[in-house]
Symmetry: C2
Subunit: 316 residues, 2 copies
Amino acid sequence: MAHSAPSSVDVGLSEEFAVPAHVEEVRRLMTEFAEQHGSAGRRVVLITSGGTKVPLESRTVRFLDNFSSGRRGASSAEYFLDSGYAVIFLHRHRSLYPYSRLYTGVNVLDGLILQSDKEEGGQVVVDQKALPNIGTVLKRYHEVKASGLLLPVEFNTLSEYLHLLKAAAQALSSIGSKAMFYLAAAVSDFYIPASEMPEHKIQSSNGPLQISMKMVPKMLSPLVKDWAPQAFVISFKLETDPSILLERARRALDTYRHQAVVANVLDTRRGYVVVVTKDTQHELVLTDEEVQKDVEIEDKIVSNLTVAHSQFMSQI
Amino acid sequence: MAHSAPSSVDVGLSEEFAVPAHVEEVRRLMTEFAEQHGSAGRRVVLITSGGTKVPLESRTVRFLDNFSSGRRGASSAEYFLDSGYAVIFLHRHRSLYPYSRLYTGVNVLDGLILQSDKEEGGQVVVDQKALPNIGTVLKRYHEVKASGLLLPVEFNTLSEYLHLLKAAAQALSSIGSKAMFYLAAAVSDFYIPASEMPEHKIQSSNGPLQISMKMVPKMLSPLVKDWAPQAFVISFKLETDPSILLERARRALDTYRHQAVVANVLDTRRGYVVVVTKDTQHELVLTDEEVQKDVEIEDKIVSNLTVAHSQFMSQI
C-alpha cells in the first residue's frame, strides 16, 4: 500500500521538529545574501548537501543516518561558482566542503614539512606531492572567499535541516526565478517525534530494540507551492535498484510539479546520472577518457541545469 | 526484564556478521606488531575508538550510528605513546586521529598561505596563527611515525569492528599481561542480521518504518575468558543519566570479570570520569585551572591506568 506524504508542512513543523536556536540569525544572513546578489542581477543557488542525523534519544547517543559524504554537493558548489552563481551551501557539519574536499583523503600532517629542527618559529611548508594542485586550489578558494559569493550554513540533525531549508526557501523567494534549489542532501524519510523519544540512552539490558519511525513530511511540496513558487527547483533521487529509478523520478515530478529530478544509482553515481524533466530525459555519462582526465560528473550536471535555468527564466 | 548477553561469540560471529576481506592481512600485521614490541619488553595497548555503523540495508543507504567523534581514543593514544606503550589504534574511518585531531575544527585551506601569485611552483606555507603549535605537533607526529610505535587499523561497520577486535585480541594474547585493552569505541548494542536485511533501499512509499534489531553479542565475555585471558582489560561506560552510572559500571565488572571500567556521563565526559575496579573507585576531575591550561582528562585516565597496569603485571 502506498502512503502519500502529509499534505502540509507548515502546520506542525515546529511542534514535531525542535527549532534550532540560530534559525533567525541564519534567515537574516540568507535574506541579505539573496537580496544583495539578486539586485546585482546574479542568480543564486541553494545547494543542500550531506546526510541528516535522526536522533533516537533526546540526549542523543544513538542516531539514524544516511550514507552521504557530501561530495556531490561540494563539487557542484565549485561548478556553480565557476558559472557565476552565488551559492548558499547548506551542508551537514563535517561533510565535504568546496575545495578542501580534494584533500580529505589525506592526513594533513602527512602533507606538511617542518623546515628546521626548531619547533617554534620554524617555517612549516606544504609538501606539494602530498597535496596535489594545492597552489591552484588555494588561490581559487581565497578568491571565492573574498568575493562573498559563497555563504556556508551548517546543519547536523534532521530538525535543523528542515527549519533551515524552510528559512532558505523563504529568503530566496524575493528573487523569484533567479533562485535555483539544488537539493542534493540525503534527507531521512523517517524520524521519531520528540514526544515519543526517550530522554536517556536506551539500555541494552532491556532486550532487543523495536524502533517505530514516522514519515518525514516532504518539504518539496510546500517549497514549490508556497515558499518559493517562482524558483527553479531540482531534486535528487538515489536508488540502489536501477529498474525502479526512472519511474520513481517521474512519480516525484508528477507529485511535486518541480522542474527536474537528477536520478542516480548508488553504484554508478559518480559516472552516470539522468536529468529527468516533465518532457525530457538527458543521460549524462563520463567517458573513460574523461575519467582519466579527472572530469567530474557534477561539471556536466551543473552545465545542463544552468542552461535549463536560463530557459526557465526566459519563459516566465 | 533483564536479558543476559549471548554466552558465546565464537559460535556464529562469521554467520551473523560478514567477515571483512582484509581481516587476515590485518591479523598478520597486528601479530607481528605485538611480537616485535613484546619481545623488546614493551607494553602494547589496543585502543578502540569512534562509533560503529550498523547498516539497515545490504546495499547500504541508511544506517544506525553512535555518537562519537573519536576524540577520547585519539588523545589517549598520544598519552599512551608518551608513556612508552606501543599502540594499535583500531578506529572508525574518518574519526579523530592522534595529533591531527588538534586541527579538525579548522578548514585546512584557511591555515595555508600561497607565498607568490604563481599558482604552480609557488611555495605554500602554514599560517601558524590558524594552526597553533603546528611545529611541535608535527615534529611529534613524525617522530611517532618513524618509531613504528603506532599501528593504525580502520573499521567502518559493526561487522568490521567485531572481527578486527577478535583478531586483535588473539594477536595480543602472545604477550600475556603486557597487553592492555582500552575499549573506548562506542559500539552499537543492536544490529540487524544479514539474513533479515532488505537488499535495496527501503522505500518511503511503503509507509512508516518498523525496525527490529537484535542484541549485539558482548565481545568482552570471550575476550576476557578465551581470546586474551592474561591481558589487562578496560571497558568504558557512557550514560546520559548520572544516577545509574556507577551501578551499571559495577554490574559490567561483575559480569565480565575484567580489570576496570571508565565510567562517564555524556554532558561532563571531558572533565570528569570515575575509574571503577573490583575494590576501588577513583574520581578523576579537571580543575578550572587545568581546563585553562588545556590539560586533558585523558592524560589523567592514562596515568591512572598505566600505574594500575604495572601493579597488575607484578601480581601475576
